[in-house]
Amino acid sequence: MTTGTSGNSLYGPLADVSGDAGYADSHPARVGFFTDTSVCIGCKACEVACKEWNGLPDPDFDVLELTGMSYDNTGALGSNSWRHVAFIEQDVISEIADGSATRWLMASDVCKHCTHAACLDVCPTGALVRTEFGTVIVQPDVCNGCAYCVSACPFGVIDRREGDGRAWKCTMCYDRLRGGLEPACAKACPTDSIQFGPLSELREIAQARLADLHAAGHTEARLYGDDAGDGIGGAGAFFLLLDEPEVYGLPPDPVVTTRDLPSMWRWAGAAAAVLAAGVAVAFSGRGRLG
């Protein structure tokens, strides 16, 4: 079950994700984000640009909440935060000073725009769709707020907006893509930590960057979400990390839940058969109360 069925619509590598969703061969190339956290300076320009461009509300600001999590007062991705900069402070051994130092990891998280997107798979209304660019968006005029996607996303990205009742997440600035512009976060990023482009090119850039870092002795550097053979068929938005994924609040080995859908239905079928058998047995007895 862990390998198997590669190349189908539920699981495994998929060469043409938009084509699989029904777009004609003339569709544009799949685009994505490569977020290189090794050059993130934690400025949050991406968060601000995203909020500005997409007109996202900031309902929490009637009561200013300080999380106590370093410089992160956004906390997590959600219906109103489509970029989230994580701040991780680590005690490390240093060769300078008195031997101890703080390492600061910063990383701008975003929707992964999965090859096999669980949110899209489970959406019962068709509100979540694959775009011609291979990204995943919610159509707000269709979403009825069932919140199934919220529990299906293995990254905890999509959420329902309170008071609005619908699910929201990063669109990779679908409107800007349609107009030939790069997404607002990538445009605003001053260090090119967030790079936007055709996914195949980004993967090459990422491999080269990883090789450079390894050559420079940063063997802790690793790519996350770049592998088309992983549990989500590879992410449309992938990352270069300097520690384990869970340190950044990312799942170590996410799998699209629909991979197991056929077995789930088989077990449900068996359970339904148990119900039918139970009723049959209950009614086959002779015993009627007299």
């Binding site: 905890g156 339904a272 119900l275 209950a282």
Partner: protein, 301 residues
């Protein structure tokens, strides 16, 4: 026995202990109530058809009215659960095999239509042939309606739900028998002629056994994802469910002789079924809220 099943404290890391997943937006009492009423309606539809086929008119009548009430009550909770209830019909915009909720919406729609037709015929005494036909049809949609929520919950990233894909459907179809049996027990406690209801007593007993077995299966689920069913708010609810269901099963043995026992048994079994649904929701939320379950399930060993 639970010692080796606990999540090892290990050197597990997280981002300030924050959840990796979003905790489900599904809430109490809506989701548990929907699960309970849906399975109740599903099993009662089958009971109605079986009772008619085997010449138990009083039980058939109870079952058909109950099936319709369950379907509409469940549908109401389901609709109230939506962020945009006025867009409920968007559920029928598409039919999507990859979405158990889409499949479930179609099952519920078909089932509701059939059980209302059967109930309407039962109440008005008109179009008996069509009513029977609709009742027979609902005996097909019934088990689907009772079983699909197991897939609905399992087809998520929530560790305690996803990894319980074998146990959850059985918990719900077992619970369906218990709930329908309990409805029969309750009706028999107040009905003049109780001769039809022995089948419902047997169904309650079978259901109590299956439901308890499935609950035990959840508690003893291997790996870290069984823990939320043993401890915390989910574990407490599941324990309560087990005692109520087993107690109701025992009480049902005396239902033939005592109307009081029938009523007590019905109440216990219904309470047990409801507690089991609350347990599942709470265990799921607990497993999504603590990143250790996500990390442990993805980094085995």
């Amino acid at each position: 026995m639970t010692e080796q099943l606990q999540v090892p404290p290990a050197d597990f890391q997280s981002y300030y202990g924050r959840p990796i997943l979003k905790v489900s937006r599904w809430k109490e009492p809506h989701l548990p109530a929907y699960l309970f009423l849906g399975e109740l309606s599903g099993a009662l539809a089958m009971v109605g058809a079986a009772a008619e086929a085997t010449g138990r008119p009083a039980l058939a009548r109870t079952a058909r009215l109950g099936a319709a009430a369950g379907a509409f009550g469940g549908g109401a909770f389901l609709t109230a659960e939506l962020g945009r209830p006025e867009r409920f019909l968007n559920m029928l915009r598409v039919a999507k095999p990859t979405s158990p909720m889409s499949m479930g919406s179609w099952i519920l729609a078909a089932h509701s239509g059939l059980v209302s037709a059967a109930a309407a015929s039962e109440v008005t005494g008109r179009l008996g042939r069509l009513g029977s036909l609709a009742g027979a049809g609902s005996a097909v949609t019934g088990p689907l309606l009772a079983a699909y929520p197991g897939v609905l919950l399992a087809n998520t990233a929530v560790p305690a739900w996803h990894e319980a894909y074998r146990q959850l459907p059985l918990l719900f179809t077992g619970g369906a028998m218990t709930a329908a049996g309990a409805a029969g027990l309750a009706a028999s406690a107040v009905s003049r002629d109780r001769s039809d209801f022995a089948a419902a007593y047997r169904l309650a007993l079978i259901g109590a056994a299956v439901e308890s077995l499935a609950g035990y299966g959840l508690e003893t689920m291997p790996g870290p994802s069984g823990e939320p069913y043993r401890t915390g708010p989910g574990g407490a609810m599941l324990t309560a469910a087990r005692y109520l269901t087993l107690g109701g099963g025992v009480a049902s043995l005396a239902a033939r002789r005592s109307r009081t026992a029938a009523a007590v048994s019905a109440a216990l079994l219904t309470g047990g079924g409801l507690c089991a649904k609350f347990a599942v929701l709470r265990a799921g939320k607990a497993s999504a809220a603590d990143p250790k379950y996500v990390v442990a399930s993805q980094r085995p060993g």
